[in-house]
Amino acid sequence: MSQDHLAYVLRLADNALILGQRNAEWCSHGPALEEDIALANISLDLIGQARLLYTHAASLEAALNGSRKTEDDYAYFRTEREFANYTIAELPHFGPLAGTARAERDYAVTIVRNFLYSSLMIEVWSALQTSSDAQLAAIAAKSIKETSYHLHHARDWLVRLGDGTDESHRRAQAALDYLMPYTREFFATDAIEQAVADAGIAPLASEFEAAWRDEVASALEEATLTAPEEVKHVTTGKHGEHSEHMGYLLAEMQSLARQHPGASW
């Protein structure tokens, strides 16, 4: 039990919750009824994973300092700087012109992000099934089944959009150009990840970076899309330094619980 262990579990939880919250924006706004239902289902899985992970984090934190937190304390009563999700998870669905363009949701952004994230998480959950943290291994064994359906869904659509019409290809390529640079954060090892790797809790992401790149490359080829050139900048969401979009997302997600603390529904 260590602060690093707790921080790592909270990162996993925050990624699942924030992407689940983002994708839930499609609920009743989906481009087709089937996709509306699919995105709501995927969000439900992600928020379910987040709940299991936050509950586990609460037990780790209780062992560390005797606190008595619940999943809701982490989700609703932490501030922006305390959330440690990857920046890519919090970005809005409307592409690179966010903030200046009209706030429309672009399904290509949704699909490309879900593909990049779920292809990463397949590797993460797969490795975590042999974690020295038995509860984390149990959560991984559940989550990988769900993530595998998410990846099928996103990969199918990635190919349909990329290898579809001129317009769908253009938008899928634009979404890829926009989002791909954010994936560098997945593999930028820091002290927390090194500490949990040394403790046998989680592998370093760099161990499966090659497998992830192969999966992405084969899907992009099938989708007739081209990966953009590598950039040097690495985003810092997992360190609590977020994009300008995070505050708005949290405000929407947390306002009800903060206005009625302790309420149950």
Binding site: N41, L44, R51
Partner: protein, 174 residues
């Protein structure tokens, strides 16, 4: 038989009759959600359940239904324990329940997932999508097509029968 064992046996009987809130033709035991009934170290009756999908919204309803069933049978104090491992799998759905699902209009999951953590220590890997043959629960035709990977609940996909033209739910292998 001593009283403690009699209570557990009675609890199994009572819980056997608790239906799944979303698919009421099958019980929580037949689906593999109800894992164990036992007495805890302090002698309190413990009912052990496991969630299907991580975010399954029926879990709190299931816990409530269990509590009500136990109270109605006047089996005394109890608590509900939720376990995650081994991870729930559709492999646990009994043959009888599969037939009930089919008669209810839901195509039961096909094939084994081989994903039960209990049966294997090998980590689950991502398996690329393979086209399974799903038989229509109404007419039995295997001339069917997938409309959507995600259906009316987390555990189902939406299919259509090309012969009888009826849409139907398919319980996804998990």
């Amino acid at each position: 038989m001593n009283t403690a064992n009699a209570t557990i046996e009675r609890a199994w009987d009572v819980l056997e009759a608790v239906p799944d809130p979303e698919i009421p033709v099958v019980s929580i035991r037949e689906l593999g959600i109800l894992r164990e009934v036992r007495h805890g170290d302090d002698g309190v009756l413990e009912v052990v359940i496991t969630p299907t999908y991580s975010g399954c919204p029926a879990m709190s309803q299931i816990a409530e239904d269990i509590a009500q069933a136990i109270d109605r049978a006047e089996l005394g104090a109890h608590r509900i324990e939720t376990v995650l491992a081994p991870a729930w799998t559709t492999d646990w759905i009994t043959d009888e329940a599969r037939e009930k699902l089919r008669r209810y209009g839901i195509a039961p999951p096909t094939g084994a997932c081989n994903s039960s953590a209990a049966s294997s220590t090998k980590p689950i890997r991502f398996v690329p999508y393979t086209k399974a043959t799903i038989a229509c629960p109404r007419c039995g035709s295997t001339h069917t097509e997938k409309l959507a990977q995600f259906g009316s609940t987390a555990c189902k996909a939406l299919y259509r029968c090309i012969d009888c033209r009826e849409p139907f739910d398919y319980f996804k292998p998990y």
